[in-house]
């Protein structure tokens, strides 16, 4: 993999150049210890040491509300709506990128989701090695600390004034060299980047009492655990854990007729398996009526169903749900550890 050295004073020029072709988003300090991806404007400070973006990045690929078709009421015909702006996400942490590559696979398999795939195609991703680990994050202990695919460029801050930039795709390299030639990274710089990754990993590997690869097996035996009832008793069924999760992508389909009553738009909106109505059907039957059933389903989806399909967990350990859950029960790390402890005690 080729790599270049980029100096801090070269960056504003590059960003400005990219901003002409793409809507550029970068992490920004939005106050009180909160960071989020925001549109980058000339002169904006990038939060190089951000620990976690408040909202997950799935919103750039599956917007909270996304039109699917428009229709004509009088003729009963419909046309697809594909909105996919060219965008560049600068500063994506590996665990968030892992979530995106997971969505890539799930959206491409079976009936390909062309809405997602079209947006993804129009999205440049520049990954960034984290410098800090957010409280509640545990990505280093669920195998989400490393990504080999999915990024166009991978940035590692080597010091106050320089970066090592690894090339992931040809279009990434072209973009990087758009402003003129750059120096190839030296072996010493590559070594410095490797050490930087090691430093952050030692802080990110925390909390998990056992090897994450054991989680699917653990869940295989935990269907009737009393933990589901105990924990879900507190669940407010608000769906916040799903909304902030970077790998949740369930959606509802709704529609609106326009003011003229001649036509309308059918769109999808984020939905949540924690909401009471999620599995309800006509005739007043609900396939997951109880909070424990919904809480358990969410955990199994993160810890087993996705793993059985892709070989990796559906939880990337970002910890957004830990922060979003007002009842304090969403933390997957705590759930997995408690199940592990209970299984050990049962012998």
């Amino acid at each position: 993999m080729s790599a270049y050295t980029v100096y801090a004073d070269q960056l504003p020029g590059l960003l400005a150049r990219w901003n002409g072709k793409y809507a550029v988003y970068a992490p920004k300090d939005i106050g009180e210890g909160i960071y989020d991806f925001r549109p980058w404007r000339q002169g904006d400070e990038i939060a190089w040491d951000y620990d976690l973006a408040y909202n997950s990045l799935k919103r750039f690929l599956i917007p909270p509300k996304e039109p699917l078709i428009s229709y004509d009421l009088s003729r009963c015909t419909a046309e697809p709506i594909f909105e996919a702006p060219a965008q560049l996400l600068f500063g994506v942490h590996p665990y968030d990128l892992r979530a995106i590559t997971q969505l890539d696979q799930l959206m491409e398999s079976g009936a390909p989701d062309n809405y997602y795939l079209r947006r993804r195609e129009q999205t440049m991703i520049m990954a960034l090695e984290p410098l800090r680990v957010a409280e509640g994050s545990f990505w280093g202990s669920v195998g989400a600390e490393r990504v080999d695919v999915g990024f166009d460029l991978y940035w590692t801050k080597l010091g106050p004034s320089s970066f090592l930039v690894e090339v992931g795709t040809q279009r990434g390299e072209e973009l990087l060299l758009d402003g003129g030639d750059l120096a190839q990274a030296t072996p010493g710089e590559r070594e410095a980047a490797r050490r930087a990754k090691g430093r952050i990993l030692s802080k990110a590997r925390k909390g998990m009492a056992f090897d994450w690869r054991e989680i699917p097996k653990l869940l295989g035996k935990a269907w009737d655990s009393p933990l589901w009832e105990q924990r879900s008793e507190l669940c407010l069924a608000c769906g916040s854990c799903n909304m902030v999760c970077p790998t949740c992508y369930c959606f509802d389909i709704r529609e609106e007729v326009d003011d003229s009553l001649q036509g309308g738009v059918r769109y999808r909106v984020w939905d949540s398996c924690m909401l009471h109505s999620f599995a309800a059907v006509a005739g007043n039957h609900n396939f997951r009526r109880k909070a424990l059933e919904r809480y358990r389903h969410r955990t199994y989806r993160k810890g087993k169903y996705i793993f059985d399909r892709l070989g990796e967990l559906g939880c990337v350990g970002c910890g957004r749900c830990v922060r979003a859950c007002t009842a304090g029960i969403a933390n997957p790390l705590r759930t997995f550890n408690d199940l592990w402890e209970a299984a050990r005690n049962e012998g």
């Binding site: 699917l68 419909a78 062309n114 599995a279 389903h297 087993k304």
Partner: protein
């Protein structure tokens, strides 16, 4: 990944050509696709129907696949906004359809065998697709035994057709209701009470079963007790479906999506899934 600008969410236009009242709440709708093509469905599959301005909902196809007609039938209970909108349609009105979607009863596996149909309430609607296919190709199939259960006589559907079937001589039909009225002369009780009344040969019998969620556990246990191999029991499971494409997550049964892995499942494929039955 190269995304084509094809949307699976664009429905195809279809026109309502006839309706028939089946009960106080259930109507049979007969549609044709506007492009004149066959629906090309298989028994047990469903479509997602659009009433523009109201929404979309999945419906089992009730008619048998046929090359003789481009018409297809849905039997729909008026129970919510979508189904009420459908009941307001007039012949000649247009709707949108997506599909057919989902798995189906593997007709070849039924050839040469006896079939025990177990229909609870509206479960008769998707089963009718397989039943009528078998009747069209009657000589390829063995005994056809149909058990139909309803909550009460007012909820019976396809009454005339069922009576016609019972007069054919080559279909064995038994009906029951949970709550009889004064006029009801037939069997009373849940559908499992009909099972001892049909002397089936478990070694040559396939089961096709559709009904309300509560029905499956009891009937499946009975069928297994009767000696029928769970690998020859087929069930169609209802779940909430939105996209029909295995993406939106609503119809998940453990790790499976009812819309693409189902709705028709072999019992052996779901017996170990705690969310299935």
């Amino acid at each position: 990944m190269k995304a084509k600008l094809f949307s699976a969410y664009v429905p195809q236009p279809a026109t309502l050509v006839a309706t028939e009242r089946l009960s106080d709440f259930v109507t049979l709708f007969r549609f044709v696709r506007d492009d004149g093509r066959h629906l090309a469905h298989k028994p047990g599959q469903f479509i997602v129907l659009s009433a523009y301005g109201v929404g979309e909902a999945p419906f089992s196809i009730s008619s048998a696949p046929s090359r003789d007609t481009t018409e297809f039938e849905l039997a729909v209970r008026k129970i919510g906004t979508m189904t009420t909108a459908m009941h307001n349609l007039r012949v000649g009105d247009k709707v949108g359809i997506r599909g057919p979607y989902g798995s189906f009863f593997p007709v070849q596996d039924f050839v040469g065998k006896d079939t025990l149909f177990v229909a609870g309430g509206l479960g008769y609607i998707p089963l009718r697709s397989l039943l009528h296919y078998q009747l069209k190709h009657r000589q390829e199939f063995g005994r056809i035994i149909v058990l139909v259960g309803c909550r009460n006589p007012q909820e019976r559907i396809f009454i005339d057709q069922i009576e016609e079937l019972s007069r054919r001589g080559d279909v064995e039909i038994q009906e029951t209701v949970d709550c009889p009225d004064q006029d009801w002369k037939g069997n009373v009780g849940v559908i499992t009470t009909l099972l001892p009344k049909v002397a089936i040969d478990p070694d040559v019998t396939n089961v096709a079963m559709v009904g309300p969620p509560v029905m499956y556990r009891f009937v499946l246990a009975e069928c297994v007790k009767m000696g029928i191999d769970p690998g020859r029991i087929y069930v169609s499971l209802e779940r909430k479906m939105k996209c029909g494409l295995g993406k939106c997550g609503h119809c998940q049964i453990n790790h499976l999506n009812a819309c693409v892995d189902g709705p028709v499942f072999r019992y052996t494929d779901i017996a170990a899934l705690p969310e299935a039955i």
